[in-house]
Amino acid sequence: MSRIATPSAGGPTAWHDLDPLTRLVVSVGTLVAAVLLTGVVCLLLLTLVAVLLPAALARQLRRVLVTGLLLALPLALSVIIVNVLFSIEGTVVASLGPLEITEEGIALAAEVVARVLTMAGAAVLFYVTTRPSELVASLQHHGVSARLTFVIHNGVAMIPRLAERAHEVTAAQRARGLDTEGNWLRRGRGVVAVAAPTVLSAVRETEMRTLALETRGFTRPGRPTVLRVPHDSSTQRVARWGVALALVLLTLARATGALPC
């Protein structure tokens, strides 16, 4: 009976104890700020304050660093290659055959990589410290529509589910003789054989889930009952509005050119 509209059980750390909406606002705020800010120093400062410190507080620093780096790596590499090797104008610091490496190219690459790392870190921090059900309960408690929360939740929950399904399909296809190792051509064929059933089964499951949700009154107008009330507080409310206000000021400063970095 402890579930009757009582605060949800506390998390393992102070960061986990925050209302998921607060964690969401911090992550989204960090993503937007990373777009608005320029300069490696400013971006690193943002990463330190909004990603690394909370990650350490949540005892997830290593996981956030590793996953964030892996997530950002493909984009970061392409950014480095394009900006460092194909920068047309600027002070040349080195040559690589016909390609010239410029100071401006290196600076731009460093800034974009810092931005990508900050954004990846913010997303990973939220993902590893927030259970989808927590977020749904929090959003519903704050009056966000059930449909919207379900869409948000499924966006988050779909990633591990698709990965798990792809793993199952791969195992099934291998059992039927599919060669997913060897040269790239074979691997490419393997991807098609795995991707098609994975996507189709996901679509079918989505259709079935739609019917199941309808029969369980999901589309009923009005707010559903929330059994687990998140740990909100006036401090968190002020902090959330503070983040929103900071983003507005940041946007104005960027638009007027008043931003120092």
């Binding site: 929360t149 939740h153 499951e205 199941a212 309808e214 369980r216 009952t225």
Partner: protein
């Protein structure tokens, strides 16, 4: 009582009707079975009786569907869901995905109805008890076996306290132990006063729990009666319905020149 009178249904984009002038009555406290071969129209009849067709999946419907004499064809799905709920074939696909525990999964339906928290908890506890899965209440529903997930789905529907429960092949993906659990739960649900419509390919399952059975073929109800009367009828096999094990034995004994009644008396 949920009543379908002369109901025909055509899927969106379908060239022909899938159901033809079907008449069916679901009385409270009874279990009505739907037997038939694959593609006979059993699942479509479940979707229509449960209100999902055409409300959610589209299509066109003709005929009358009434609940205690009131026409429900214009009711929105969320309103009908307070009286009639439907369970589909694959339990995993029916989980809400926003519940960490079985209790939360079961509470999802009544919570959607906007009931007071105490009522949601009471209904969920009752449904868990009725289906006999109280011991699973803190487990992750996505990590359960197919049979357990089917029971969780049924508990979730029962927590909405519907007067009519539509089940499309509830034991299709289950092993013997899982099937037994689900069939026992269905019997308990009907005993508690719920009207159950159960589409099923396994004749033995229908014979075990149903009060009456209707045979669906080509989108029509071609026969109806008591389970033994319908499922033991020689014409049943012609409709692609699995023969009851005891009937199969009787036929084979007769074919071997033995009198089944004498053999039965001797054993």
């Amino acid at each position: 009582m949920l009543k379908l009178q002369g109901v025909s249904y055509r899927y969106p984009g379908g060239a022909h009707e899938t159901l033809h002038a079907v008449t069916l009555e679901l009385a409270e406290g009874t279990i009505t079975g739907l037997a038939g071969a694959a593609e006979a129209g059993k699942s479509t009849l479940c979707l229509v009786a449960g209100g999902l067709a055409p409300r959610v999946i589209g299509g066109t419907i003709v005929g009358d569907i009434t609940l205690d004499g009131t026409d429900v064809t214009s009711w929105p799905m969320h309103h009908l869901a307070e009286h009639v709920v439907t369970s589909l074939q694959e339990p995993a696909g029916q989980l809400s995905l926003i519940a960490d525990t079985v209790f939360d999964e079961v509470a999802f339906g009544p919570a959607n109805l906007g009931l007071p928290p105490e009522e949601v908890v009471a209904r969920s506890d009752e449904a868990l008890h009725l289906v006999g899965i109280e011991d699973l209440r803190e487990r992750d529903p996505e990590r359960l076996s197919g049979g357990q997930q089917q029971l969780v789905v049924m508990a979730g529907l029962l927590a909405m306290r519907p007067r009519h429960l539509i089940l499309d092949e509830p034991v299709a993906h289950l092993d013997a132990a899982g099937s037994r659990l689900v069939l026992e739960a269905i019997t308990a649900i009907a005993t508690a006063g719920t009207a159950v419509l159960m589409a099923e390919q396994r004749s033995e399952a229908l014979a075990t729990v149903c009060d009456s059975v209707a045979v669906v073929a080509g989108g029509n109800i071609v026969a109806r009666g008591s389970p033994r009367e319908v499922l033991a009828h020689p014409a049943t096999i012609a409709f692609g319905i699995e023969e009851l094990p005891e009937e199969r034995l009787r036929r084979r004994l007769s074919k071997a020149g033995l009198d089944p009644d004498v053999v039965a008396a001797a054993t």
